[in-house]
């Protein structure tokens, strides 16, 4: 993108009308990949909304009582049950990884290769920790007899919705983690500085890719906040 054409554009609402009425691009200076990720995330929002609305419908119309979430999700410290302990740690880890991701984007645009790479790696490890803790929680619930098709604590839909929605979110996190590791390697190797061409796409690498991955990662975190609220606090 040449910068001189993008200077002196009107700002505010006038700017929006101007950009929409102009040629070439409707969102001035926004890279294709970034825009594409935004639209994908909008679409993904609809997927999670459908899941969560189905969950609300299922929970509110079930004939058997819903299990008491503060008991089901509690951890025993010594012999004292602490409700939501694990989830609090999981949420903390995931939100922290969002912070490291945001810093990685900043250092990426500053072309600080080393810092960027370490922060991407830290984000990846945070994500991996989250997935690990989620596996722990799953195995704890499975150990206690909760299954997708049955549940000793009450409505069987509890198990179905819990495993499906946290599982679907977990797949998102895992995909994110895989890409974070790949990107950490790419950053360490300096692909984004040299503009090395992608193995599959044969497109030039650029630090904007870090921001695009960051958008995805923040989205996954945000979705977790909703899942947290709807499953654990309701």
């Amino acid at each position: 993108m040449s910068d001189n054409t993008l200077n002196n554009l009107p700002g505010g609402y006038k700017g929006m009308a101007h950009d929409m009425g102009s040629d070439q691009t409707a969102f001035k200076g926004v890279q294709w990949g970034k825009f594409m990720m935004w639209i994908f995330l909008l679409s993904d929002t609809f997927i999670f909304s459908c899941f969560l609305i189905s969950y609300m419908k299922g929970r509110s119309s079930t004939v058997v009582d819903w299990p008491n979430t503060s008991e089901v999700f509690s951890l025993h410290v010594g012999s004292v049950p602490v409700p939501l302990l694990l989830i609090a740690i999981m949420t903390f880890v995931l939100i922290t990884s969002s912070g490291t991701m945001a810093l990685a984007v900043k250092f990426g645009y500053e072309k600080n290769r080393k810092m960027c790479a370490w922060l991407v790696l830290a984000t990846a490890i945070g994500g991996l920790t989250f997935v690990g803790m989620q596996m722990f929680e799953w195995s704890k619930l499975i150990h206690e007899g909760v299954r997708p098709w049955s549940n000793p604590f009450g409505a069987k839909q509890f198990g179905s919705f819990f495993f499906m929605i946290t599982g679907f979110h977990g797949v998102h996190v895992s995909i994110g983690v895989i890409f974070l590791f790949i990107f950490a390697r790419k950053t360490f190797r300096g692909d984004f500085d040299t503009g090395k061409r992608g193995f599959f796409t044969s497109q030039k690498s650029d630090y904007v890719a870090i921001e695009i991955l960051g958008l995805y990662w923040h989205f996954v975190d945000l979705v977790w906040v909703f899942i947290f609220a709807f499953f654990y606090l309701w």
């Binding site: 040449s2 009425g21 994908f40 679409s43």
Partner: protein, 612 residues
């Protein structure tokens, strides 16, 4: 070393500096167009046969791949409809059509035609081919993702076709796949059939999302210089809005597919209430079948417009070109497309008046449904006013456009019947519904597809299709389609239910027998007529009249490429610069009866062109 580097880069440098200085030199120049803000797109040029024609990253080749795959599934759907009609018209004539098979044919015909044929054809086929050409870009913005999109679609089609060959055959639950019956042993194909169907749909959604992202971003962010949103051909507006709908509606389908797969495979009870089957209490309980209907139709209704909006857009362009007149009320047409798109998310439950939902819901959805009639009627009026006192060329393309208007109005009017709860309840699940939606989203979009093929075939292949065969094809298809669906309205009024394998000896349907036979004969003829079309395409590839450049004297950019048919990269060395909308036909004061989009104002000074 450095010399070589410079040498390789000289043409590129020269080009970009020339565009920059050429445009910024004089601001008062009437030919002024904003300077380029995008750098040249970095394209991967395939070298081997595989990267050029199979795993190809050129949107035009991907478009043709989508088109051919979709047509292949469409032919499967056509054959299935023949089998259904044979059973309905002449029961027990074909011994292998049992009740189970009949339901499987119904289901597969519906799903194939709506999703794998029409959606893939309009968005995957026409979308891929036309979007980069019409907005003036070299390719889709992410050609690699676009290529993967096609191959996902291809796998989805393979999985769908595989379901014909698994034990128990394909699912026979009706194209809406309503639970609980879709996954219970009572319906045919409730084993592997339904699982493969749900898998295939999920793959389709994933593949389509990849393509859809490309279409949206290419249209919004990769237009050529001078191409504002309000100078885009309506084809692009239709495809754009339909893609936006798809990106927001397909998630509901994906979610319902995942949940039903879990209901089937893991015996969860998302959609499954407590059920007793053959005296045995099943493990299911506590789920909501109506939830599935809501999810399905939240996808299903926008899906209707995903098919219809590209058809609206394309037909507007075809009418304008072949009536040699600008489209009446271009901006109105754009806002009608966008408005229909927006409204389509608030009407889904009109498919569920008899599902047992709250009656007030029905009232709300009837209101929103009838509101959609306003922008749609607006479009119909605009097409007709465009034709009014126009210089109409009565060729095959125009015939198909006229056929579209007639069938669309017909189907739209019956839509108003069905949109009202009180009228819908007696008519629901009768042949009236079949007649309605086949008219409005079967035949009408098909008319557009056929018109579009006759229109753009010269661009894709460089040869014209035979007009003589085309007219035969049109008249048989048009009159035949009317013979099929018009009597069905009457069948619906006398109460013939849809999805019934056979009417047996019900005395009050005696009058339906002859009509059913007539419809079946018409259906066989119309289906066979499509092979005229295929024959026309195949022979014209070799012996068709060479088309040359811009045979229809159209204005839009796809006809203004450096080579015909366009090659990879579309526009030769420099991208075109756009100065006007694509509808400057028969402008008073201009020498020719058309002014292409790239003609600068200084070349047509006397002409009273629209200000766009």
């Amino acid at each position: 070393m450095s010399d070589e580097y410079n040498q390789n880069n000289t043409p590129l440098e020269a080009q970009s500096s020339e565009t920059m200085s050429g445009s910024s030199s004089s601001k008062t120049d009437i030919d002024y167009v904003r300077p380029a803000e995008l750098s040249e797109q970095d394209l991967y040029h395939g070298k081997s046969f595989i990267t050029k024609w199979i795993f190809c990253q050129d949107a035009k080749v991907i478009g043709v791949q989508y088109f051919l795959t979709a047509v292949f599934t469409g032919i499967v759907g056509l054959v299935l409809s023949w089998l259904m009609r044979l059973q309905l018209g002449f029961p027990e004539l074909v011994p292998f059509i049992t009740a189970e098979h009949y339901y499987q044919f119904v289901t597969m015909h519906g799903m194939i035609m709506v999703v794998y044929f029409l959606t893939a054809l309009f968005l995957g086929g026409f979308g891929n081919y036309l979007i980069p050409l019409m907005v003036g870009s070299r390719d889709m913005i992410f050609p690699y993702v676009n290529m993967v999109s096609y191959w996902m679609f291809f796998i989805a089609v393979c999985v769908l076709m595989a379901s014909f060959f698994v034990p128990g055959g394909p699912t026979g639950a009706g194209w809406t796949l309503y639970p609980p019956q879709a996954i219970l042993p009572g319906s045919p194909g409730s084993g592997m059939g339904i699982i493969l169907m749900l898998t295939s749909l999920s793959l389709f959604v994933i593949g389509f999302t990849m393509g859809g992202l490309n279409y949206l971003v290419t249209i919004l962010q990769a237009r050529t210089r001078g191409m504002t949103l309000m100078r885009m051909p309506l084809t692009i507006w239709g495809i754009f809005t339909a893609t936006a709908l798809a990106m927001l509606a397909f998630p509901a389908l994906l979610v319902s597919c995942i949940m039903m797969t879990l209901d089937k495979v893991l015996e969860t009870s998302f959609f499954m209430p407590a059920i007793i089957q053959a005296g045995e209490v099943l493990d299911y309980g506590g789920g909501s079948p109506v939830l599935f209907q809501h999810l399905f139709w939240f996808f299903g209704h926008p899906e209707v417009y995903i098919v219809a909006l590209p058809a609206f857009g394309i037909v507007s362009d075809l009418i304008s070109v072949h009536a040699r007149k600008n489209i009446f009320g271009y901006r109105m047409m754009v806002w009608a497309i966008v408005g229909i798109g927006g409204l389509s998310f608030f009407v889904w439950a009109h498919h569920m008046y008899v599902s047992g939902m709250n009656p007030w819901f029905g009232f709300f959805f009837a209101t929103t449904t009838l509101i959609i009639a306003v922008p749609t009627a607006l479009k119909v009026y605009n097409w007709i006013i465009t034709l009014f006192r126009a210089n109409i060329r009565m060729n095959t393309v125009m015939l198909f456009c006229l056929g579209f208007i007639v069938t669309f109005v017909n189907g739209g009017i019956t839509g108003i019947f069905l949109g009202n709860v009180a009228v819908d309840i007696p008519l629901s699940d009768t042949y009236f519904v079949i007649a309605h939606f086949h008219m409005v989203m079967g035949i009408a979009p098909l008319m557009v597809i056929m018109g579009a093929v006759y229109h753009w075939f010269p661009l894709v292949t460089g040869r014209m299709l035979s007009e003589k065969l085309g007219k035969w094809h049109f008249w048989i298809t048009f009159l035949g389609a009317y013979s099929i669906y018009f009597p069905m309205h009457y069948l619906g009024f006398i109460g013939v239910p849809r999805r019934y394998f056979e009417m047996y000896d019900s005395p009050y349907m005696a009058s339906a027998v002859g009509m059913n036979e007539f419809i079946t004969v018409a259906a066989l003829i119309v289906g066979a007529a499509q092979f005229i079309f295929i024959y026309n395409i195949i022979t014209s590839l070799r012996i068709g009249k060479p088309a040359g450049k811009n045979p229809w004297k159209a204005n839009s950019l796809e006809w203004l490429t450096s080579e015909v048919p366009p090659v990879h990269g579309n526009f030769g060395e420099k991208l075109p610069v756009v100065h006007r909308w694509p509808y400057d036909f028969n402008v008073p004061g201009s020498k020719e009866d058309y002014i292409p989009q790239t003609t600068p104002p200084s070349e047509v000074i006397g002409a009273e062109v629209e200000k766009t």
